[in-house]
Structure formats: C-alpha cells, structure tokens
C-alpha cells in the first residue's frame, strides 16, 4: 500500500485533512517569506542566512513526526490504512543530475514549486511565468524520457526508469 497506488476519491474527510495540511504549509511559506523570490536570492547570495531556519525547522518537525509514526505508533494511518513509513528513495545518477538542474533553476529564479504556489496565493501574479515554466519542464522531461525509453525498448535493453 505504501507505494501510493490506492485509487482516487477517498472522500471529504481525506480531502479536508489534506486541505488543512496544505493551508498550514502555505501559511508557513508565507510567514517564512520563502514565497518571495528576492528573499530566496538574498539567501543564495549569502546576504541573509535565515532560510536555513525554514528548512531546518520544517525538517525537524517532520523528523519528530515520522519517528512517532514509524517507530512509536507503527500501525496504519486512520484515513487511508497506509502504513506509517519514511520517505526513502533510491540514490542513483538521476538524483545528482536532477539536483543540479533544479539548483540552476532555483538559483536563477529564486522560486521552487511549493513557494511558487504560495506566491500565487499572495497575489504575486508574475510567478505564473515560473509555474508555467515548471509545467513545461515537467512535460519536456516526461516526453523526452518516454521517447528514450521507447528507443531503448526497441534495442532490447531496459525500459523506463
């Protein structure tokens, strides 16, 4: 179940909780000022290191919560029956390549996905350029990887991902 293949439409309570989580998440992005590209660029240009506290604070709360779920409660989550686990993904070349490309984009724009959505909520309409760009980038990589996988498939080697 933890591979996330449960079907859509888990009902109002499920979506209500996700919405509350999103509200807190977006409120936090506002309070932390990470929704403002100028603040992120100040951090990356070493003029204000406050953003370390944003990621550090958020990761600390997550670490405590995941430890509670995975090591203390252990069972399954009430709304989905999904087992409490941690976010662990395999380390391969893609993690480095993707991190590098993401870093160039973040350093150029001062915008990352969550902060972009939050920025829109503040009324920062120019961020639509960045959100449009993100969809374009996500589509481009998906299309390119599909074509590559098809080509490799024809040569009899491994498939996608």
């Amino acid at each position: 179940m933890s591979d996330g293949t449960e079907p859509d439409g888990r009902g109002a309570r499920f979506h209500g909780l996700i919405l509350i989580g999103g509200l807190l998440f977006g409120f936090g992005l506002g309070v932390s000022r990470m929704a403002r590209p100028e603040v992120v660029l100040d951090f990356l240009q070493f003029q204000d290191f406050g953003l370390l506290f944003v990621m550090g604070g958020a990761a600390a709360v997550s670490a405590v919560t995941f430890t509670l779920g995975a090591d203390v409660f252990r069972g399954t989550a009430p709304l989905t029956g999904r087992a409490y686990g941690r976010r662990v993904k395999g380390l391969d070349r893609n993690v480095l390549v993707g991190g590098t490309v993401f870093g160039v984009g973040w350093g150029l724009s001062g915008i990352c996905p969550g902060a972009a959505y939050a920025s829109l909520g503040v009324g920062n309409w120019p961020v639509l350029w960045a959100i449009g760009g993100m969809f374009l980038g996500a589509y481009t990589q998906g299309y390119a990887r599909s074509v590559l996988a098809r080509r490799q498939g024809m040569e009899g080697t491994v498939g996608a991902d």
């Binding site: 989580g21 977006g26 506002g30 990356l44 070493f46 350093g107 969550g114 920062n124 980038g137 589509y139």
Partner: protein
C-alpha cells in the same frame, strides 16, 4: 494584526543574543524564518498522521499533466491515484499563503525579479525536480526529516549549485 508581521521580522529577541559576526548573517532576524518552518512542518505532520502520506509539492506538476496528456508516463497508476489529493494540497498552499498575506502578512505584493528569470528558472526547476525525484519540500523537508541519504545528497547538490548560480547571475550584473 498588521503589527504582528512587523514583530515577526524584528531581529530582537533571538539574534540580539548572537555575537555581532553571527547576527550580521541574519539581518532580518530568525524568528519569522523558524516560525514559518514550524508551520510548514506542521502541515506535513497533519497530512502524515492522518494519511501516512509524506507530501511533497513538486509531484503535483507531473501527475496533473495526466488531466491534459495521454502520454503513458503521466498516466501511471501511482500518478492517477494521487493526482486529486495533490490538487487539493496545492489549493491549500495557495489559500494558506493568501490567509497569511491578508492577516499577519504585508498584504499582496508582486516580485520584481524579471519574467525571463522566472520562466527559464521555472523550466529548469520543472525538469530538475522530476528527474531528481523531489524538490525543496519532498527532499528538503520530508526526505531530510526521514534522514534519507538520497535526499541529503540531493539537497546538498541543489544548495551548492543554486548558490553558485545566484552568485554568477549577480556578478553578471543581472538585477533584479
């Protein structure tokens, strides 16, 4: 309530106790940053405890392409299964930031960073986050919170590259 945003930004209570060289690294203080981080973590915690899901922001970009594209990659079972809660989550982020702006925040504002930087940067962020399996929230908050070596490597990579990029862009005189 308007004064509250100002209080959050005061460098006073915490940075005041720092030695001057350290305080200089935090010209806007640390309170608003740390408090914002706690709220972000709280959002992740609420979703996790209720559903067991470790929510990241960037998978929204790829899963929702399945509403518009027939490409099999975007129509994988896991994407079709998660795309609707990711839409709800993103809506929550937008509304949560709006609540902030209208209550303790400074109201609405727009960035002066140039559109080409937002667009080109956005494309690279879109590619990078999907190839690298996560972003500042998926790897940076949930992955690091899971003490995942993969996420720590990814975060270290994008932090160093992003800082280098921002420095080069600044050195080239691109402002803002």
């Amino acid at each position: 309530m308007a004064g509250c945003g100002g209080v959050l930004l005061q460098s006073g209570p915490v940075v005041g106790a720092f030695p001057p060289w350290l305080a200089a690294l935090f010209p806007e203080g640390v309170v608003s940053y740390a408090l914002g981080g706690l709220f972000i973590g709280l959002g992740v915690a609420v979703i996790y405890l209720g559903t067991g899901i470790t929510a990241g922001a960037s998978t929204f970009l790829e899963t929702t392409l399945s509403y518009a594209s027939r490409l099999p990659r975007f129509n994988r079972r896991t994407y079709l299964a998660s795309r609707d809660w990711r839409l709800t989550f993103t809506l929550g982020i937008v509304l949560g930031a709006a609540v902030y702006a209208l209550t303790i925040g400074p109201g609405g504002w727009t960035t002066s960073v140039q559109p080409w930087r937002l667009l080109v940067g956005g494309v690279l962020v879109g590619i990078g986050t999907r190839v690298g399996k996560g972003c500042t929230s998926g790897h940076g908050v949930c992955g690091v919170g899971s003490l995942s070596g993969t996420s720590i490597v990814n975060v270290a990579t994008f932090l160093v590259v992003a800082a280098g990029t921002a420095q080069v862009v600044m050195a080239l005189g691109v402002v803002p």
